[in-house]
Symmetry: C2
Subunit: 105 residues, 2 copies
DNA sequence: ATGATGTTCAACCATCTGGTTGAATGTATA
DNA sequence: TATACATTCAACCAGATGGTTGAACATCAT
């Protein structure tokens, strides 16, 4: 869902986690290590990303391995792309009108 | 700022407002009309979008005319595009490795 | 001047959010 | 078995968020 993905990614910590996972599979505590907040806080962020479908979890014994699920980006990326296209078209149309106007002067 | 734009757009009401403004300049009360919430609530949402740079306001007498500022989308759109490119490259690399692996069997 | 219109401001409220700490759970290891 | 490790769960807290209502402000129309 677009909503969940956008909400999840509107937090800088969570975007950083996604970037971190860009380097490959990581355990929860590895992901948490660079941050100054508690492991618990990061664990919550991971859960949020997971709920949004952006992160997948693989349990091996007591360790939880996390991977990014890039497919989940798609909806949001597409939404922004659609916006971009729409506004570009609109600006082009506007510009076109203005040059036409100029031609009539 | 990426953060502000993403946060602003993570709310469905605010995304709807942006869509509404896609049709052209609108007064605050016109923007508010289709929503079931109070004018005040929408006014607050507009202010949020304005703070994020996504909306511009033009005061004419007592009326405030709003327009979308598509340029503000750019950062966010670019961020998603960068993500998309990064993950596609990563998947390609992975696929490549796997076919190489298969060739060695 | 009066009153209606368009909008914001201010105070309030319930819920969400992002963080904390401490305990619980499950698993590996000595 | 006892202990250390990896992680989550639960309770709590402060501050943000999204909504409400009522008053204030500025402007237009009579």
């Amino acid at each position: 869902m677009l909503n969940g993905v956008l909400t999840a990614l509107s937090d800088p910590t969570r975007r950083a986690i996604m970037t971190e996972l860009g380097a490959g599979e990581r355990r929860v505590s590895d992901v948490a290590a660079p941050f100054e907040m508690s492991l618990n806080a990061v664990s919550k962020h991971v859960k949020t990303l997971e709920r949004a479908g952006l992160v997948r979890r693989r349990r091996v014994g007591r360790e939880h391995f996390l991977t990014a699920n890039p497919a989940a980006f798609e909806r949001a990326a597409e939404w922004f792309d659609a916006q971009r296209k729409f506004w570009n078209a609109r600006l082009d149309r506007l510009e076109h009108l203005m040059t036409e106007e100029a031609g009539n002067e």
